[in-house]
């Protein structure tokens, strides 16, 4: 890269480093590693001018760490919050999607009756979107790859008219044989799901360290088990959807997305537009869980339809579309072998996994957690990814690790049983102190504290005494535990601007998004802390590619750790400028000033003024600060950890499982807002409980059709199913990770839920649970096997 002439350094506050001279200036753009959804990527980062002092455990903080309520809670519960589906544009048309009624074959469409219906303004078919591909498939393809695949879109003056139009489209299917599950896809003579075959060209993916054969040879105890996990559906309350509007050659899109900039790139590329001619907006969001990481099919369809018909178009999936054609967590079959010494020391971990991906998606895979969670010199995982005639997978809260943890942690619990060891003690004896899979240090690891404090809170060591206390003779009580690891470091690039208005209120501007996690509140807390402002005076503005600086997708639990440091740096720069201005007003030196709760004070004096007074005196002089996220530490893995302890009651006559209590102890570095963080733990425990007990996409193998694509028949937990959840965080700031000390926490807490519950069920009934969800029929079947 050619050296860029550096602009003259702007006036900076006291804490700004001296500007280096041209000759000794270190490289400004460097490479750094960022872990996203279990995958590590190398990113270029522009080294920030400003590197705030890390907030270590001794830092005196007032707003960061406070239990402040979610700042948009009132809007949400009163219906004032505007979601993508609430966007109404003048003259807007509504789209309804016609979907494939079979899993394979070729569709022929007759849209004439639809076009003749009242209010119908137009139809999109394959010819309108040729060349736009998602997950390797042509959008609106006439070749059917899975039931529920979009075939055409009818646009009308209102949604009811569009739906009536869609129902009037005549779809003729020339059927072809399908393969909707592993058995069908891997059978001799199976129909070809993708042209290159039914097994991913990159399979089997083999990852290994050490020598597992030697490890198994050295083992004194060996166990082998097979575990199965289901296809789980994200079931976000807000389905995928977008509103698109053109003004000349410029496109505006409102989309329910986890990544406005990714969506912008996807749309610009597909439509041949410059990035500056595409604006993507997203304000409130009703959940994504990993399935909304780029432009959705709905966004492409809305954009193309709006261009073709010359009016804004709203295209949103209905619930059936959401449950069949919006991504899913892949099913897995995991064959696990563990070798160990009598004292529990692991000598080998072997996984052979098969994963049906659907028509595509990325290959998350259950294997990686086998390499990361427990110390073992010899680990080998083999993962085979198989294509099936079902909707493509999409990232789903800790993709891969959640499936893998069910196998790994269940096997570890089985091994503990075999060895006669406490499952917690077995984990302590195999405690990994460094990242074995990448052979480097951890920024921090406090899983041992999660084990200790989680067990203490749960009463793990007194559980034998509680076992007999059940309500009826046919109800058995059981206890189980499991652990997790997940990348939590976040990283660059992420940018933020903080600007002060003349009344002293502050706007935090960053192109991140709040999926409902509370990012809006957390980023405002970081800015308020740094500025010394009142939190109520700080507002976070998110979700607009045209008006906000770049921040990456809200995925991989990275937002707080990525954007938080950028916000802090921006706020610090703004504060320093404010202090420069206020110093003259207060007749003091800049370094004598401090601010808290909206008041600037002079050290050792009674002189004060509010931030509002200072800004007001400045008039329309705008105090602004820019900040960016710096690189991650070199040769360092930045993880989050957790340990869950579950108590269940199982009715051995009916097979019903009731989860009574979950204690979830987590290490995610500094917690910016304990209330919101605990809310993430609770949500993840409930989502994990659904995965463990209820949730399972069911297809009829013969017909190739989804059977339960409704929120009644796909059973997510209700509030009545919620156990007592005691979620809490251990430890404190991880200052190696970044200068806020915070790490990711949204995904890790779903990882250990299912294996912890399964272990508790096994403990209760005396039979291992090899498959989730643990429906009554599966529990009864295992009880029978156990005799």
């Amino acid at each position: 890269m050619a050296p860029r002439k550096r602009p003259p350094a702007p006036a900076r506050g006291a804490s700004a480093p001296p500007a280096p001279t041209e000759a000794h200036r270190p490289p400004r753009f460097v490479a750094t590693k960022v872990e996203i959804e279990g995958r590590e990527e190398t990113k270029i980062v522009e080294l920030p001018d400003r590197n705030p002092q890390p907030w270590d455990d001794a830092a005196e903080l007032h707003v960061v760490g406070a239990r402040v309520p979610r700042m948009d809670a009132v809007e949400k519960v009163t219906g004032g919050a505007r979601y993508t589906a609430d966007v109404l544009r003048p003259g807007m048309l509504w789209a309804a999607v016609v979907r494939a009624p079979a899993a394979a074959g070729r569709a022929t469409l007759d849209v004439s009756a639809a076009l003749a219906r009242p209010g119908v303004r137009g139809v999109l078919t394959l010819d309108d979107v040729r060349g736009i591909r998602l997950d390797g498939m042509q959008l609106l393809d006439d070749a059917i790859h899975y039931a529920g695949q979009p075939l055409c879109v009818v646009c009308a003056d209102h949604y009811a008219l569009a739906r009536a139009g869609a129902a009037a489209v005549r779809v003729t299917v020339e059927p072809a044989p399908h393969a909707v599950n592993l058995e069908q896809a891997l059978a001799d003579g199976a129909p070809r799901v993708r042209s290159r075959g039914n097994v991913s060209p990159r399979s089997p993916r083999l990852i290994q360290r050490g020598d597992v054969d030697a490890g198994l040879h050295d083992a004194e105890v060996t166990i082998t088990r097979e575990y199965r996990t289901p296809v789980a559906l994200h079931s976000a309350l807000e389905p995928h959807g977008a509103v698109a509007e053109w003004e000349g050659g410029r496109l505006s899109v409102w989309e329910s997305t986890q990544g406005i900039f990714n969506t912008r790139s996807d749309l610009a590329k597909a439509l041949g537009l410059g990035l500056s001619n595409v604006r993507v907006m997203k304000d409130y969001m009703g959940g994504g869980f990993g399935a909304k990481n780029g432009a959705s099919a709905a966004a492409y369809l809305a954009a193309v339809a709006a261009r073709k018909l010359g009016r804004p178009v709203r295209c949103a999936w209905d619930r059936e579309g959401e449950q069949t054609d919006a991504g899913n967590r892949s099913a897995t079959v995991q064959r696990v072998t563990l070798g160990a010494k009598r004292d529990g020391t692991l000598t080998a971990i072997v996984l052979d996994a098969t994963i049906p991906l659907g028509m595509g998606g990325w290959e998350a895979g259950p294997g990686r957690i086998y390499h990361e969670l427990h110390a073992c010199p010899n680990v080998r995982t083999s993962e085979t990814f198989v294509y099936t005639n079902t909707g493509p997978m999409a990232s789903f809260r800790a993709p891969g690790h959640t499936e893998g943890a069910f196998g790994l942690e269940s096997a570890l619990n089985a091994l503990a049983g075999e060895l006669g060891l406490d499952p917690l003690e077995l984990r302590r004896r195999n405690y990994a102190t460094a990242d074995q899979s990448r052979d480097r240090r951890y920024s921090a690891k406090r899983l041992d504290e999660c084990y200790r404090r989680g067990a203490e809170r749960f009463g793990w060591h007194d559980r034998a005494a509680r076992r007999a206390t059940t309500s009826a003779t046919h109800v058995r009580r059981g206890f189980g535990m499991a652990a997790c690891v997940w990348g939590g470091g976040g990283g660059p690039p992420a940018y933020a601007t903080v600007r002060l208005n003349r009344d002293g209120t502050a706007d935090v501007l960053t192109g991140a998004q709040d999926l409902g996690t509370g990012s809006r509140t957390v980023l405002a807390q970081i800015a308020a802390e740094t500025l010394g402002a009142k939190l109520a005076d700080v507002r976070t503005v998110l979700g607009d590619t045209e008006r906000l600086p770049f921040a990456s997708n809200s995925w991989g639990s990275i937002t707080t750790a990525s954007v938080g440091p950028a916000v802090r740096a921006a706020a610090e720069e703004a504060r320093d400028r404010l202090f420069e201005a206020a110093a003259a007003m207060l007749d003091a030196g800049v370094t004598e000033l401090s601010s808290r709760d909206g008041v600037i004070s002079v050290r050792g004096s009674e002189r004060t003024m509010t931030i509002g007074e200072a800004c007001n005196r400045l008039g329309d002089v705008m105090i602004m600060g820019q900040g960016s996220r710096g690189p991650n530490p070199e040769q360092t893995t930045i993880p989050a950890f957790g340990a869950h302890f579950a108590e269940v009651e199982v009715d051995v006559e009916t097979g019903r499982v009731r989860v009574v209590r979950i204690v979830a102890a987590h290490d995610s570095g500094r917690i910016i807002n304990p209330t919101l963080a605990e809310s993430q733990l609770e949500g993840a425990v409930l989502q994990g409980l659904g995965y463990a007990l209820f949730e399972e996409r069911v297809l009829d193998a013969r017909l190739g059709l989804p059977m339960n694509p409704t929120l009644h028949d796909y059973k997510v937990p209700t509030m009545a199913d919620a156990p007592a959840i005691e979620g809490f965080f251990v430890g404190g700031a991880d200052t190696v990770a970044n200068h806020t000390g915070a790490k990711g926490l949204a995904e890790p807490p779903i990882i250990p839920v299912a294996p912890a519950i399964a272990a508790a069920v096994a403990d209760a009934i005396g039979a291992e649970m090899p498959e989730i969800p643990m429906t009554p029929w599966r529990v009864l079947a295992e009880l029978k096997t156990a005799g």
């Binding site: 009536a164 006559e653 097979g655 009829d700 059709l705 059977m707 028949d713 009545a720 009554p776 029929w777």
Partner: protein, 320 residues
């Protein structure tokens, strides 16, 4: 979804006259009907809303102590009605077990009895006996929620909770049309699929459930309704049971979720339970006898075990 008109009936006669029209369908809370229309399972030309008919939602005792529940009475109101709670608690418990608070607030008793089965194949428009087809795709498919007893050629189960309690309470159903009113015992209200697999009840075109009668002789004593679901709320029964030993004597038990309609337990079993003096072994033997005719499909055998557990539990409760 085909277009339809909506009429809020002002009287029983008005409702009956409207329902005599072509493809007119009675509507209560619409919690099932509107979904079924949306799914394309039914395609009415006219909806006749019965909730505006004066007195149609009344729940009242008559002079002889029998209960009359208007067809448009809300499930929630029956669940919380003082006389129902006191004298027919099995019915109150069954109503309280329906769906969710919102569904109970919207749903009516007549609508609850007339809701269509939840069989996935029927609901998703796969050709089957219920929609004019000539095979049951569930037999070789996903039949985990379907009938283990009394099924064939259709194996769908009726989803109502109150119907199971009403069966144990030997209720009657009043059916009205432009031609007049008839009353049928609940045992004759549900039609076995061997007779007419395309429908579940004797309610024909032009007819609606105007009331449900619960006899005084079924009141009091020991009454229980137990419902096993996959999750704790907003779910249909995997298996349920209504078991009563009214103050006037006798034992009656009915199972839900196992058969095309509420499954009344064999009278010889009921008599043996009524005669009392049962130990654990005889209770188990009776439960097995009650399920003697059960023939599970490929994926629903667990329901027989669940039904056995509920029967044993109920017999123990009735014995004490």
């Amino acid at each position: 979804m085909s277009p339809f008109t909506y009429h809020r009936a002002t009287s029983t006669d008005d409702a009956a006259a409207r329902l005599a029209g072509a493809r007119a369908v009675p509507m209560g809370g619409g919690t099932d009907l509107l979904v079924a229309i949306d799914e394309g399972v039914v395609a009415p030309a006219q909806l006749v809303d019965l909730r505006g008919v004066p007195g149609a939602d009344a729940v009242a005792l008559d002079a002889r102590g029998a209960l009359r529940i208007g067809g448009a009475a809300r499930v929630h109101d029956v669940a919380r009605h003082p006389a129902v709670l006191e004298r027919w608690p099995a019915l109150a418990q069954a109503c309280e077990a329906v769906g969710s608070p919102t569904l109970r607030q919207m749903g009516t008793m007549g609508g609850n009895l007339c809701q269509r089965p939840r069989c996935w194949y029927f609901r998703r428009g796969v050709s089957c006996f219920k929609n004019g087809g000539d095979e049951c795709p569930a037999v070789d498919g996903e039949n985990q929620y379907l009938a283990v007893i009394g099924g064939g050629p259709c194996h769908a189960v009726h989803p109502s909770d109150p119907a199971v309690a009403l069966t144990a309470l030997e209720a009657t159903v009043e059916i009205t049309s432009a031609g007049g009113t008839r009353t049928v015992p609940i045992a004759a209200f549900f039609v076995p699929p061997a007779e007419a697999p395309e429908r579940e009840t004797v309610v024909g075109p032009g007819e609606f459930v105007s009331a449900i009668g619960v006899p005084a002789v079924s009141a009091g004593g020991v009454q229980r309704y137990h419902k096993l679901m996959q999750r704790e709320a907003w779910d249909f029964a995997l298996v349920s049971i209504a078991a009563v030993r009214p103050a006037a004597g006798g034992v009656r038990m009915a199972l839900g979720g196992v058969a095309p309609g509420p499954w009344r337990v064999n009278s010889s079993v009921e008599e043996d339970v009524a005669s009392g003096g049962l130990d654990d072994d005889s209770i188990s033997a009776l439960a097995e006898r009650a399920l003697y005719d059960a023939q599970p499909l490929s994926k629903n055998g667990y329901k027989i075990e669940m039904a056995g557990a509920l029967l044993r539990q109920a017999m123990r409760e009735l014995a004490t």
